[in-house]
Structure formats: C-alpha cells, structure tokens
C-alpha cells in the first residue's frame, strides 16, 4: 500500500506501482464491456466472423430508441420558465420603465428650475438689489438646490466580498448580513464628512440636503426616499487635503476602518480636483418669511417655485440665516 507511485508511469514487472489502485486501473484500462470480446471469441470458435453486422433490426430500433431518449430527456429536463420568473421579468420591466420615466421627470424639473432661476435673477435685477443674488446663491448651495462643482473627496463603500445576491431567484432572507453596509454606517460616515468640513455631499448621485434622511427599508438603504444599490459612492465637495486629514483620525474614519477589519466592508477614499455634486431635484419650498417691508417690489408673486430659498424681495434683511424658519407657507 505504501509503495510510492512511480511518477514516470512506467510499469514495474514485479509489482505494479499502482497495485493499490486496481479498481481505477481496471476501470481506465478496460472500459469496454468484456462481453463483446467473449462473444467475438465464441463466434470465432464457431467459424463465424468476429463481428456481427451493425445493420440488424434490433440495433436500428435501439438507435432510434436512444435518440428518442436523448431528445426527450433534453426537453423534459431543460429548466422551463416558471410563473415566478415571468412575474419577475414583468416587474423588472415595469421598474425599468418607471425609472426611465422618473429620470425624464427629473430632467424636466431641472430645466424648469433653471427657468425659475433665470426669472428670479431677472426679477432681482429689475428690483435693483444686486447683493441679494449673491446671498441667494450661497443659500441655494447650502439648501442643496443647485449643483456644486469643485475639488473634493470620493468615498466608495461597498459590502464585503461574497455576493449575497448571487442567486437572484432565491427568496430574500430576512436576516441582516453583517458584511452588508447598513444605513447607520452611512450615517456615521456622512456625519464624519460633514464634521471634516464638507460643503456638499451626495450619495450615488442623491444630494444630501438638510431634510434628506438615510434610512433602512428592508435590506435596502434609502436616501431621501430613494433606494440605493451598492456600491455606495459618497461624493463630497470641500478642501480634499483638509477633509482627509480631519476625517481619517475622526470617529467616522476609525469606525470605517473597523468595519473593514471586522466585517470586510470595503471602502476607498480618493481626492479629486473636479467633482460635481448634483442639486436635489425634489427640493420644495416649505418655509418662507417676508423680508421686512415690501418697498415697491415688482416681484411679489406667489412663491410656488420648486425652491427652498425664500422668495426674493428687495429688502436684503434676513437672508443671511442658514435656513428660513419663520412663518410657514407650505405650497
């Protein structure tokens, strides 16, 4: 049993090196039914040719039977599209068409928002309040109403390797996978980035405004009521060097590296000179406050535009506050 196997494979006349593998050897060396040889020997002994014809009726019948068996088995065992798969395809189709529709609507909102901005600028110019437009721009950036471009950091966070969604047909499990990025993780990271001096943040193209929440719904992370798919790309605008210096030793940075060490959650931080954080297309005017006395304003139109900034009016009194929190004027 312990005879070493001869690596060259040459057989030893006294004792075969693979004597312990007779089963494998006989299987590999004599795969043909010994019955054929015996029948041939019998026929030779009886004075007949060793082989019979391959054109006998029974061989043809068996050949037809074999083909029938192959075809039947192939058709019977091919996975058929089940009702669940059809329903899933239908759902995927519907989701995709609705997403396309949503994208189109968002583009429309952006176009209309630009139009409103132009009207606002025009109204401001006509009213003669030049410094007001600067304040307005600053507030729009803070409220997340307009896109922001500039240097910044891109932080990519992804689930641990080992795709839990490999089998798309399986039922979703309700248990939480510890290798998955959770909404709380993203909250901590985003708060860390704010703390490090970020001026604007978006996750997978969704701008984080003061009213946007990062939440969990089932297994999906919801940002501002829109579900995200991994990987989670957090784009921040701000001084990259300073933010990196502040973020990495902060609680959020340490938390992120702990996530990586303990659960394998991947993250990468990259600085860039030119990043764009989109505006939040769903920003609505919720609170507005009149700015002092209405001195001959030509722009006292109802404030129904899609903006969170106060309706401009000539007196630039209280626009310096971050967010208007005065009298409610819900649209």
């Amino acid at each position: 049993m312990t005879t070493p196997v001869n690596p060259t494979g040459s057989s030893n006349p006294e004792r075969r090196p693979d004597a312990s593998m007779t089963l494998l050897t006989s299987m590999l060396e004599r795969p043909l039914d010994p019955g054929y040889q015996e029948a041939a020997d019998r026929r030779t002994a009886a004075g007949l040719p060793a082989a019979t014809s391959t054109r006998t009726v029974i061989v043809v019948v068996l050949a037809i039977l074999t083909g029938f068996l192959f075809a039947t088995a192939a058709q019977a065992l091919r996975p058929k599209p089940t009702a669940a798969a059809a329903a899933k395809a239908e759902l995927v189709r519907r989701i995709e068409s609705l997403q396309a529709e949503g994208t189109a609507q968002e583009a429309k909102i952006a176009a209309l928002g630009r139009q409103v901005q132009d009207y606002e600028a025009l109204a401001l110019r006509q009213s003669g309040g030049a410094d007001l437009s600067d304040t307005l721009k600053k507030l729009e950036v803070r409220a997340g109403a307009v896109p922001v471009t500039g240097p910044g950091l891109t932080l990519t966070v992804d689930d641990a390797p080992g795709d839990p969604n490999a089998d798309a047909g399986s039922r979703p499990t309700t248990g939480f996978d510890s290798g998955q990025v959770s909404a709380a993780d993203l909250q901590i990271v985003v708060n860390g980035l704010w703390g490090a001096g970020a001026e604007a943040i978006s996750i997978n193209g969704h701008r984080l405004t003061s009213t946007a929440a990062i939440r969990f719904a089932g297994q999906a992370i919801i940002v501002d009521f829109r579900p995200l798919a991994r990987p989670y790309v957090i784009t921040t605008i701000g001084d990259p060097d300073r933010m990196q210096k502040l973020f990495e030793p902060s609680f959020a940075g340490v938390y992120l590296s702990q996530l990586n060490q303990q659960f394998g959650i991947r993250s990468s931080l990259a600085a860039s000179d030119h990043l764009t954080v989109p505006g939040d297309s769903a920003v609505r005017l919720e609170v507005a406050r009149p700015l002092g006395s209405d001195v001959g304003s030509p722009t006292s139109r109802p404030s129904t535009s899609d903006r969170s900034t106060p309706t401009p009016s000539p007196a630039p009194a209280d626009l310096s506050t971050d967010l208007p929190r005065g009298s409610v004027n819900s649209p």
Partner: protein, 110 residues
C-alpha cells in the same frame, strides 16, 4: 451508417413529439441518458475493434439503463440519491472518456 440515421430519426421524433415525461420518471432521465451514452460509445468502439455483437449491445444498453435507474431509485429510498447518482455519473463518465479516447485512436491514429 444506418444506426446513425436511426439515432437522428429518434432525435427528430423526440423533438417533434415532445412527449411529456411523468414527474416520477424525471429523476431517472439524466442517469439513463448517461448510461445509454456509455453503451453507445462502447458499441462504437466495439465496431471499430471489429468485435461488435448486436445482442451484447442490446443487453448492455438495457442493463446499463435499468441498473442506473435502479441505483438512483435505491439511493432515493435510502436518502443518498444525490451521492449515488454522482458515483454513477463518475464511473460512466470515466468509461465514456476512455471509450472515446480509444475511438479517437482508431479514427485518427493519434
């Protein structure tokens, strides 16, 4: 040549008729197909070796299919159906490969 035409005819008939296989028979189909393949390749090799015998072919074909089906049935009853099926597939697969290698040596001398 004629058996090959018969095989093609059988394939056509099976594809065109598309018979519905009863559910209780379906677990045996894959193993039966492997066993039939083994018998067919064995027969082709025997033809090339010059020792083909129609009775041996028929008997080996039928016994292969039946024994393979029986092993799967027995395995299912004993709760080791998957393992026994794997064993059958491995053994028959090795045989098919060796027979095909022998056929290849006959046909291409390589």
């Amino acid at each position: 040549m004629i058996p090959a035409i018969g095989l093609l005819v059988g394939l056509m008939v099976g594809l065109l008729l598309d018979p519905s296989v009863p559910v209780w028979l379906q677990p045996y189909l894959p193993i039966a197909v492997i066993a039939a393949l083994d018998a067919v390749f064995g027969a082709v090799r025997a033809v090339l070796d010059g020792i083909f015998n129609d009775k041996v072919f028929v008997v080996s074909f039928l016994s292969n299919v039946l024994v393979a089906a029986f092993i799967v049935f027995l395995g299912d009853q004993l709760g080791v159906g998957a393992q026994l099926s794997t064993g059958v597939v491995v053994v028959l697969g090795v045989r098919i490969f060796s027979n095909v290698a022998s056929i290849r040596r006959h046909l291409f001398r390589a």
